[in-house]
């Protein structure tokens, strides 16, 4: 990115002042090397978001920002319905409520390593992964609608997991305001056999170990200890969310002229929050959020069954579940006045600071766990929401490493079999239905997650708590 267009605020944040129709400033959280490495399109896309009606405060790029459809991945923007604010499909993404959850075991890295192959094979057999895989249950009609209205709470009612899990999920495991009746039949048909499946692409289920602690106090509060084994699940709303994204992107793009606003990019198609189409999208999007929450809950239950077989009596407790492709109705101060806003976080994680009333009491002292996925090689991070994140970014932080190269480029550079062998030599067992998929997801295809986590901390978005490294990776 050409940084000459930005004003340096400090070593970790940069500002593009409003110009050419921008209604608010665009803030980029990054150090100079990360910023220089960012695609110029991130600048173009974030400043386009700053031109949308009803945008308030500032718009933000997280340190892992990169090009997305219309709205950058790692982008955050808040819209006020009282100022003709809009909702944008591109501001949420196709994989609605894609997110990460982390399960804590009472096992150690050594325990896992003693049964690593058996565990990898059992998980690969139990977790439906990749294109064409189907889940353990088939949903249609009223059962589908119940899942879309109830989310993880519905899944727990059906016997997938424990009621205690729900307090460790955003929205208590159920997004209110879901409108299953506004989800297309195509979307529901697409989801019929996909509930409880991992998907493909960058989605994964990993058994990891806590490789490093950065904040002993927060780690204790989160129940994390060095060498402890944990399980991380990264996936979203499967075919249903993708179809809702497709349906409403088309509808908003075709409908745009009626509202007299021509978005700078068709992928940034949006509609007033107060319009019928806007309300319909919010209802359908919330149903997709519940689908994602139910999906991760079912995968959790399947994971627990596998652990119980390999390690009889093993208990896996949910630390937290975060969604990083969302639009949520939240109250934030703008110019000293509390306002109800619709905060779009696309490839960005909500990051509530210590003491926030929405957090479960057990986590409140330390802030919300911000779960940041990485690559099969580098691993993942657990961060904790910083007190300064509210002021800095409407309470948002990074979500992952972000790709450093295209799938095409990764395929030319890497062989899936070689990647699997290299990782096995480093103690990481990969199981995937597709070696080409593994090549496309090669660790070298991703950016430096360590730097992104550090910059996220320095910028006051979230504090580093722990670095997790994989032992077993189930890829879709």
């Amino acid at each position: 990115m050409d940084i000459s267009r930005l004003h340096k605020i400090d070593d970790w944040s940069w500002r593009a002042d409003p110009q050419d129709g921008m209604r608010v400033p665009a803030i980029f959280y990054a150090d100079e090397p990360l910023l220089a490495a960012m695609d110029d399109k991130v600048f173009e896309q974030l400043t386009n978001v700053a031109r949308l009606p009803g945008v308030v405060g500032s718009v933000f790029a997280m340190p892992d920002a990169h090009w997305g459809y219309g709205f950058p991945i790692g982008g955050v923007g808040a819209f006020d319905p009282l100022q003709d604010g809009v909702v944008s499909v591109g501001g949420v993404g196709f994989d609605i409520s894609c997110g990460v959850r982390l399960l804590l075991t009472r096992l150690t890295r050594a325990d896992i390593e003693a049964h690593q192959r058996e565990l990898a094979d059992a998980l690969f057999q139990a977790i439906p992964a990749g294109l064409g895989s189907t889940g353990a249950l088939e949903l249609a009609g009223v059962e589908m609608d119940a899942m879309l209205a109830g989310g993880a709470a519905w899944a727990v009612d059906q016997g997938w997991g424990e009621p205690a899990d729900l307090s460790r999920i955003e929205e208590g495991g159920r997004m209110a305001g879901a409108r299953p009746d506004l989800v297309s039949q195509d979307a529901k048909r697409r989801q019929r056999k996909e509930t409880g499946t991992l998907g493909s692409g960058n989605h994964y289920l990993e058994v990891q170990h806590v490789a490093k602690l950065f904040d002993d106090d927060a780690a204790r509060g989160f129940g994390l200890a060095k060498h402890q084994a944990v399980v991380s699940i990264h996936c979203g709303s499967r075919g249903l969310g993708h179809q809702i994204g497709t349906d409403f992107l088309r509808a908003m793009a075709v409908d745009a002229p009626r509202h007299g606003f021509r978005p700078p990019d068709r992928e940034l198609a949006c509609t007033p929050l107060s319009s019928e189409l806007g309300r319909s999208y919010l209802g359908a999007m919330r149903a997709a959020t519940n689908c994602a929450l139910a999906n991760r809950q079912i995968l959790t239950a399947l994971t627990r069954e596998v652990f119980d077989k390999v390690f009889p009596g093993a208990q896996l407790e949910l630390l937290f579940d975060v969604s990083h492709n969302t639009c949520k109705e939240e109250v934030h101060p703008v110019d000293g006045v509390e306002r109800t806003l619709f905060v779009h976080r696309k490839g960005a994680t909500r990051s509530l600071g210590p003491g926030h009333p929405a957090l479960p009491e057990a986590l409140r002292a330390h802030g919300q766990p911000v779960l940041v996925g990485g690559s099969m090689g580098v691993g993942s991070y657990v961060l904790a929401g910083a007190a300064t994140s509210e002021q800095a970014s409407f309470g948002s932080a990074c979500h992952g490493a972000g790709r450093a190269m295209s799938r095409h480029a990764a395929l030319k550079l890497y062989s899936g079999r070689q990647i699997e062998d290299d990782l096995a030599a480093r103690g990481v067992l990969v199981r995937s239905p597709s070696t080409r998929g593994v090549a496309e997801e090669a660790p070298g295809a991703y950016k430096d997650l360590h730097r992104i986590a550090e910059v996220t901390e320095k910028a006051g978005l979230a504090r580093r708590v722990a670095h997790l490294k994989p032992l077993v990776c189930i890829k879709g």
């Binding site: 196709f94 990749g130 697409r190 068709r266």
Partner: protein, 153 residues
């Protein structure tokens, strides 16, 4: 949009002559070329399958029907690809042979394929949707059509 009728019969077994994929950030683009608009749509559909698996290994055993209507040619192309993406997920199938008939802003098409066999097809990724990015449906000076867009994977 003209009301000219454009048809393309079942594509021959896949060749690389009329289709290709192109790199785009984290995702991939699909492109079809042909002497008619319908041919370009057919070729792009083969490119779509190639993102997931080798189209040559997909047996044309079962036929599904697709109909679309859109305000312009570009959105019609998106609707065609998105109908195939939905059908792949709903029917749990992959497709390798396609036929398209376009009249005005309406498309009638079909696709031949088979149920996904993870062992034989080794599917790489799931395509989430066709997007407005790099979306172009154009005719060059020589009268050849090109239809392309990026698909989200």
């Amino acid at each position: 949009m003209s009301t000219h009728l454009s048809t393309a019969g079942d594509s021959a077994l896949p060749t690389t002559a009329g289709w290709e994929t192109f790199a785009h950030g984290a995702d991939v683009g699909v492109r079809g070329r042909g002497p008619t608009l319908a041919d370009a749509f057919v070729q792009a559909a083969i490119a779509l399958t190639s993102v997931i698996t080798d189209p040559a290994c997909v047996r044309p055993e079962r036929r599904i029907e697709v109909t679309c209507e859109a305000p312009d040619r570009e959105v019609l192309f998106l609707d065609w690809l998105n109908s195939l993406i939905s059908a792949m997920a709903i029917e749990n199938m992959l497709f390798s042979r396609f036929g398209v008939e376009i009249e005005g802003n309406r498309l009638k098409g079909h696709a031949f394929g088979e149920a996904i066999d993870p062992t034989r097809h080794r599917p790489t990724v799931e395509v989430k949707g066709a997007t407005f990015t790099e979306l172009q449906v154009t005719k060059d000076k020589g009268g050849r059509w090109r239809a392309q867009c990026v698909v989200d994977v």
